[in-house]
């Protein structure tokens, strides 16, 4: 599972080091975010090679434009996730549009639907990995391990009230994955914890 969001101090420091042109900082940045970036890109594009390509583009962008990150807007992790999401959705739209023109199969509406679905799915992934660990743990018990909320409460050593609260709150957060205007599928994803 993904790590907790980095403390802002680490984010600012990393930005300074990248701006300064420290190759070691780029390596550390990769070590921290590569699996997030590759995972999101893969969720959108469903293809290993395409995800590799997006990973290359995202880190190139971070390395070439570190000043574009604004620590006041949220953690570096969210910024990197947003970049990934935008580039991956762009790539998906471009390849699907080319396929549509080439094969004349499907409709522009189906294309939009597919792009939007991929986009929401990837955003949901990011929300799950970024939500507070207690919420994620409750969802994992209830959904993947098929525990009811009473068993979930016992497993996690919390009250039944609290178990119900966490399951509801976790799903509420997750449902915000749908909250983007469909006319702007390239818009930035919501950034839980980025407030």
């Amino acid at each position: 599972m993904a790590k907790e969001d980095a403390p802002p101090r680490w984010d600012r420091r990393m930005q300074q080091r990248l701006t300064h042109g420290e190759a070691a900082a780029l390596g550390e940045c990769y070590d921290r975010f590569a699996s997030l970036v590759h995972g999101l890109a893969h969720r959108v594009l469903g293809d290993e090679e395409a995800a590799d390509g997006i990973t290359r583009e995202v880190f190139a962008h971070v390395w070439q434009n570190p000043e574009a990150y604004d620590p006041k807007q949220g953690p570096l992790r969210s910024w990197v996730a947003m970049l990934t999401h935008r580039l991956a959705v762009q790539r998906l739209r471009a390849t699907e549009t080319a396929a549509l023109a080439r094969d004349a199969r499907g409709t522009p509406e189906e294309l939009e639907h597919k792009v939007r679905h991929a986009s929401v799915t990837a955003r949901a992934d990011y929300i799950v990995t970024s939500m507070p660990a207690p919420l994620r743990a409750a969802l994992e018990r209830a959904y993947f391990q098929r525990r009811d909320y009473r068993q979930t409460a016992t497993d996690l050593g919390i009250t039944e009230d609290e178990a119900r609260r966490r399951l509801r709150l976790g799903l509420q957060l997750l449902s915000t994955a749908y909250d983007t205007d469909p006319s702007e599928p390239d818009a930035a994803p919501d950034e839980p914890g980025a407030a």
Binding site: E22, G27, H38, Q64, A124, Y149, A163, L171
Partner: protein, 381 residues
């Protein structure tokens, strides 16, 4: 009849089918009559459809190299990574992820047997996966201390300054056996090392004391890269995980370090009566060509090295390329050994006894035996 407040609190559990049958029925009756709850219920049900098992795709370590290189091509770094630090950077990165990242809590306590060749015979020491990382943390700490960084052993009982002494001190002084919590300090230190040598790297005179001998900083970083890989294989073996050899150009530098260290190790073994006497002591003036052995390493990352057989022992220091020793030369070649790269590394790691190393041999048998034993003696805990 449950009240609205309670029914609302059940919506998440209901959407996940995690309520009792009675509660489920009560919620569904309530939804028929309560608009806001029905809206929320629909949204939460939809959200459940978004829950997916995280894809456990392990990133190819080669992708890291490709991505970083493509970045550095587009914007050359002001503070580059020294090329002798690249193998350590890459080995630490791939040990951390995917290998350590995928190791479950229990597997951190899986038994691992550290093996090496103590100069005369194979030796070993039992530890765990977490114990191996503690070992890497403690020994990498030698480089950290030489660079003026914090000693991971600070505040612990002082032991000897050798790799083994430091490791034993770390293990002994921990109140509990090492756990997965050792991963973060090890990784932070490895990042610190890479970062610090990027800034200080050019100041070539820095050397790293290993307690008994010293290595120049750039060789110490190659040594740590080699150890990182060898122990990553120990761990991979313990948890049944596939692990590849390093990138060929990194492997080549590690083998090159071993080849450069061989003459001094050979001389030290000779002084200890563990190798046959030098033949050229009175015949070859210092700095002139002496007897040599051609070491041929096959496979990617391999190459050929001439090993001087009659270099003098160097006091307590494994410095290489000493101008006072007999120089290896092709004219003086008395033997030729050919090994596969992986086999040579197993030998130099002390994982294969020198008598059993699968080596093609031609020429002076005694010289070959001495060099194979010297190679195994490069290993330590």
């Amino acid at each position: 009849m449950l009240e609205h407040r309670v029914l609302k609190s059940l919506l998440g559990a209901w959407a996940l089918a995690a309520c009792s049958a009675e509660e489920t029925a009560a919620v569904e009756v309530h939804l028929g009559g309560c608009g806001p709850c029905a809206d929320e219920a629909r949204r939460l049900r939809e959200a459940v459809g978004l829950l997916q098992r995280p894809e456990s795709l392990d990133l190819d370590p080669a992708l890291r190299t490709r991505v970083l290189e493509s970045c550095l091509d587009r914007r050359p770094p002001r503070v580059p990574l020294p090329d002798w630090a690249a193998p350590y950077d890459a080995e630490a990165a791939r040990l951390d992820a995917p290998l350590l990242q995928d190791i479950g809590d229990a597997e951190w306590h899986a038994p691992v047997r550290l093996r090496w060749f103590d100069g005369r015979r194979p030796a070993s020491r039992r530890t765990t996966v977490a114990g191996v990382i503690a070992h890497l943390l403690a020994v990498d700490g030698l480089v950290a201390v030489a660079l003026g960084l914090d000693d991971p052993l600070a505040g612990r009982a002082a032991g000897s300054a050798t790799p083994r002494g430091r490791t034993e001190a770390y293990w002994r002084d921990s109140h509990f056996p090492p756990t997965r919590s050792v991963r973060v300090p090890w990784r932070e230190q490895s990042h610190q090392l890479v970062r610090t040598v990027s800034f200080t790297g050019g100041a070539g005179k820095l050397s790293v004391p290993y307690g008994g001998f010293e290595l120049p900083l750039h060789d110490a970083m190659l040594d740590r890269a080699f150890e990182c890989w060898v122990h990553a294989e120990d761990i991979a073996g313990a948890v049944d995980y596939p692990y590849e050899p390093p990138a060929p150009r990194h492997l080549n530098r590690m083998i090159d370090l071993a080849a450069r260290l061989l003459p001094a190790v050979l001389a030290a073994r000779r002084r200890a009566g563990l190798a046959s006497p030098a033949r050229a002591r009175h015949l070859v003036p210092a700095g002139k060509p002496g007897r040599s052995l051609r070491l041929e390493i096959e496979g990617s990352g391999g190459g050929e090295w001439l090993i001087a057989l009659d270099a003098p022992a160097l006091s307590a220091s494994l410095e290489w390329g000493d101008p006072h020793g007999a120089v290896a030369s092709a004219e003086g070649e008395v033997a030729h050994v050919a090994l596969d790269g992986a086999e040579f590394c197993r030998l130099a790691a002390g994982h294969v006894p020198p008598e059993e190393a699968a080596a093609g041999q031609l020429g002076d048998r005694e010289a070959i035996r001495d060099v194979l034993f010297a190679a195994a003696s490069l290993s330590r805990m």
